[in-house]
């Protein structure tokens, strides 16, 4: 029962991880760029939603508008920052996305201040109790929305012409160019979609967890997710997101107390600290060493 309750919490958070990670994978597949700013897009999406509700818009309209704004912003960053950096070394591109993250945080700090903000309720407040397991409407909504979005997005990616062009671009840039696909436009589309996913994920997360600048840290949590899933696998990101959400909840609720109980009985050590913060990364190292391409990823060969 207890574990089930943990799993419910883990799945809710994990499904949001999946949304955020999807965006990172999408960009990486398409352009080989690792977007460290994804957490920043999530944070900004949540703040814009909040800002729009605070001027009086109903929360659903605010959310839709915010996602649209995020899409535009995603396209804009790709055009203004990433396009001119086509020939830059990988690490410079990584750093540029970190620069975007820093800038976004500063913008939010300037407009909304450093304090934690109560996020408007996107969903009704309250919970269903199912034989002792509490499921808040927030959890249910976040999970359902993430699930629908992930599924919808994957369907879009596999069954529409734009999806096909995205997959072509991700598969082989040279061939895509040769058949007349405007590759850099496809990359812009990937950034747009990715920023929209992040914005929505951010708003969902804020409705679960409240809103502050700390929300941007979700981007770092997403990295173990995408590596575990395989950098290039979208379904992998979804599965890994859920697994990681559950794993963190179980670490907090079961693993840490069990270890600490054991240590307190048998040694002088009293606490193992915040174990859940390293569990994803420890797992990441293990997976990388055993299967560098991730669980669902395909092997890439190094180009000479």
């Amino acid at each position: 029962m207890f574990v089930l309750q943990l799993a419910v919490a883990g799945i809710a958070i994990g499904s949001v991880y999946a949304l955020i990670a999807l965006g990172i994978v999408l960009i990486y597949k398409c352009s080989g760029v690792v977007n460290f700013a994804q957490g920043g897009y999530a944070m900004l999406g949540a703040f814009i939603t909040y800002g729009l509700t605070s001027v009086g818009l109903p929360s659903v309209i605010a959310l839709v508008l915010a996602i649209a704004v995020m899409g535009g912003l995603g396209a804009l960053t790709q055009i203004l920052v990433l396009r001119p950096m086509l020939k830059a070394p990988v690490v410079a591109v990584m750093m540029a996305t970190l620069g975007i993250l820093i800038t976004f945080r500063a913008v939010c700090l300037l407009i909304w201040g450093p304090d934690q903000i109560g996020f408007p309720a996107l969903f009704p407040i309250g919970a269903i109790e199912l034989s002792g397991i509490f499921m808040t409407y927030n959890y249910i909504a976040a999970f359902l929305l993430s699930a629908i979005l992930c599924a919808g997005f994957l369907a879009f990616y596999h069954y529409t012409p734009i999806g096909l062009m995205q997959r072509c671009t991700a598969d082989n840039t040279r061939a895509a160019l040769a058949v007349g696909i405007h590759v850099s436009n496809q990359v812009t589309i990937a950034w747009t979609a990715s920023a929209m996913l992040a914005g929505l994920g951010g708003a969902l997360l804020a409705s679960l967890n409240g809103l502050s600048l700390g929300l941007s840290n979700i981007g770092l949590v997403a990295f173990p997710v995408i590596v575990l899933g395989g950098m290039t696998s979208l379904p992998g990101a979804v599965v890994a997101g859920l697994v990681l959400g559950i794993l963190q909840a179980v670490t907090d609720g079961v693993l840490t107390p069990a270890i600490e109980r054991f240590l307190r009985e048998h040694t002088d050590i009293y606490s193992v600290g915040t174990l859940q913060q390293v569990i994803p990364y420890a797992l990441l190292v293990l997976v990388l060493l055993v299967r560098p391409q991730g669980i669902f990823g395909t092997k890439e060969s190094e180009r000479v």
């Binding site: 020939k87 012409p161 096909l164 062009m165 997959r167 072509c168 598969d171 082989n172 840039t173 040279r174 061939a175 895509a176 160019l177 040769a178 058949v179 007349g180 696909i181 405007h182 590759v183 395909t298």
Partner: protein, 237 residues
Amino acid sequence: MLDVSGLSVRYDSVIAALEGIDFEVGEGRIVALLGPNGAGKSTLLKAIAGMLPFEQGEIASGKAVFDGVLLNGKHPAAITRSGIALVQDGRQCFRNLSVGENLKAASFRHSKGAEDRLQLVLTYFPILEEFYARPAGVLSGGQLQMLVIGMALMIQPRLLMLDEPSLGLSPVMVQSVFEIVERLHQDLGMTVVVAEQTVPRLMEIADDVYVLSRGHSVLHAPPDEIDEDRLQSLYLS
């Protein structure tokens, strides 16, 4: 039809890959572009197709004109749309996508009559129909070559450029590739440029031969004036 004059290409702004190339392709002809490895054949084709900027290359001087339209500085997508298809070396296709999706992707920019062209491609290459729903990655080298030529046909080109199509293929496969080139030329009246290192079979079908060496154009002649020995001496010059 295609008129390249005084074309020079640099990579990374410093390395000169082509110097002052003149290259002309008349409507309905098959032109052989010969030269040893590294002579600049691929670079010339890429320059025409607008692919250079994606490989740190740029046209330093000279121009390429197709049907009176300047190609310099145009995006590959636009050049493709104007009727030039380049089949790149290394059989560039989407290996994680199905054969059908590969062909579909190639017709995005030319959706009119795509169905008919697809039927045409499948008649030319029955093997593609057989593997239609399988990922392109499972195809053999020869089959892949069929696929990429098929993809090029989906673009509905008036000028088809093939970059070393025979590389790494068995002699039988090479034979059938050139048969197809000939059929395309005969059935559809397509203008074709084929870049190769040395292929006697190509000499039989070509109308015109250009030889490149170390980035320079060293010979332009009808095929009957060229034999193996002359080529060897040109390559070594």
